[in-house]
């Protein structure tokens, strides 16, 4: 059921290598260009944040594992451009053969960048949907954790937290449901909750962190009431 990006709890990665710099910028000039291209292309408005994430997650596991962060972005950008009929496969294969065309009316212009990057794109939506769960309520996460609308589709319930008992910490209001929005099936907003899980519930007791807790943001349809 899972894709390779869903890696919470996975063994075998070895130690984390902290950075000694307080504030690193881009490590390579091409990282900055990959970011800029992705954001500029995203500003065309032909896909959303959720479909963009999904396009990275659905890279073949071998590619996902060997690609660095911005390489994933680049590969996913190419996939989205073709999927959304913006660039053809022939064009991808022969960039230098393309003639220069005038700037598209929807393209982000240089002077608009500051405003576009400072703009908030909230995912909160006003709906008539009253939250079903209050803070303090015990809930169980759905199991298995996959997308209920599209087989193998995008979801934000990590496999490690599927079928687990947790406590609602707070409701964040209703937010766009990634499981639907990533597949261009509409925003389908639902109440979103911060749900707290004891470490022992997720990983068992044989763990130095067994008294600690993990909080996840989960949509209402990921949760089952425990009565």
């Amino acid at each position: 059921m899972t894709r390779i990006h869903d890696m919470g709890g996975r063994f075998g990665h070895g130690p984390v290598k902290p950075s000694t710099l307080r504030s690193p910028k881009f490590e390579e000039p091409w990282h900055a260009r990959a970011l800029a291209l992705t954001l500029a292309a995203g500003a065309l408005g032909r896909w959303n944040q959720d479909s963009s994430r999904h396009s990275r997650e659905r890279l073949p596991p071998n590619d996902y594992a060997r690609f660095s962060y911005y390489e994933k972005w680049l590969a996913a950008l190419a996939e989205l451009l073709v999927q959304r009929n913006i660039v053809s496969k022939d064009e991808l294969s022969a960039p230098e053969s393309l003639p220069q065309q005038p700037l598209d009316g929807n393209a982000l212009k240089g002077p608009e960048v500051a405003g576009a990057l400072a703009k908030i794109e909230p995912t909160a939506r006003k709906t008539g949907h009253q939250p079903r769960f209050r803070a303090g309520r015990l809930v169980r996460t759905r199991r298995p954790s996959g997308n209920m609308l599209v087989s193998g589709g995008h979801t934000r319930l990590p496999a490690y937290a599927a079928g687990c008992l947790g406590t609602v910490v707070r409701c964040h209001g209703s937010h766009v449901l990634p499981d639907s929005n990533a597949h261009f099936r509409g925003e389908a907003p639902e109440p979103l909750y911060a749900v707290s899980f004891e470490s022992s519930e997720l990983w068992g007791n044989s763990n130095s962190s067994s008294n600690d807790e993990i909080v996840l943001d989960l949509w209402e349809s990921y949760l089952i009431p425990t009565d």
Partner: protein, 208 residues
């Protein structure tokens, strides 16, 4: 239920495999098709290289240490508190501030991708995006924090926030002892990026 088979043909394989050449090819395509303005590309790079960084979050934290009203506002509605100082934007639409206390240490991860509060902390560091951090922080946070040189006492709870939605968490570290005489601007220099992710503590700017 329809299964999406298009994923088995991968257009990205049509591009050069070297990432530098890959960026160049995509850039050529998008610019020639009139879809990306090179001036917009340069302005985006300039923004993330020079204008947005952990100094933004640091100013918020330092202000919360000095101004109780602001601290309450920050804990109540961090999006609005950050906005009031001029910090907002992409990946910062919904911010929640979580405060460290003598009993509780907060730390943030995104196991599914690498969600990060860009307008407050800038571009995420390599370790935050690493498989090791993403996979291990939820299972053995104390061990991972030790790898950052941070030992959390046994009696103090660790709360790990896995940012699975569009809520971006900002850790508000405890004000260090011995900084009572410092003002907001001086204090901001103590607030490190890592202390706002929860993998570090504020540090004296002369020694950090």
């Amino acid at each position: 239920m329809p299964h999406d088979n298009s994923e088995f043909e991968h257009p990205h394989n049509l591009l050069p495999s070297d990432p530098e050449l890959r960026v160049k090819a995509l850039e050529t395509i998008l610019v020639r098709k009139g879809l990306v303005d090179p001036a917009a590309r340069d302005a985006i790079i300039d923004t993330y290289e020079n204008r947005i960084g952990p100094q933004n979050g640091a100013r918020i934290v330092a202000k919360s240490w000095c101004d109780d009203d602001f601290r309450r506002e920050l804990l109540e509605d961090a999006t609005s508190a950050a906005n009031s100082l001029g910090y907002s934007g992409r990946q910062g639409g919904h911010v929640v501030a979580v405060e460290n206390t003598p009993d509780l240490h907060n730390v943030v991860v995104c196991t599914l991708c690498s969600c990060y509060p860009w307008p407050l902390l800038g571009v995420p560091p390599a370790w935050y995006k690493s498989d090791a951090y993403r996979s291990r922080m939820v299972r053995e946070p104390r061990q991972v924090l030790l790898e950052f040189g941070l030992e959390i006492e046994r009696g103090r709870k660790v709360r790990v926030w896995d940012s699975t939605a569009e809520i971006r968490y900002l850790v508000v570290p405890m004000r260090p002892a011995g900084t009572e005489n410092l003002g907001e601007n001086e204090l901001a220099k103590w607030v490190t990026r890592d202390s706002m992710v929860g993998t570090g503590l504020p540090a004296c700017p002369e020694t950090a």
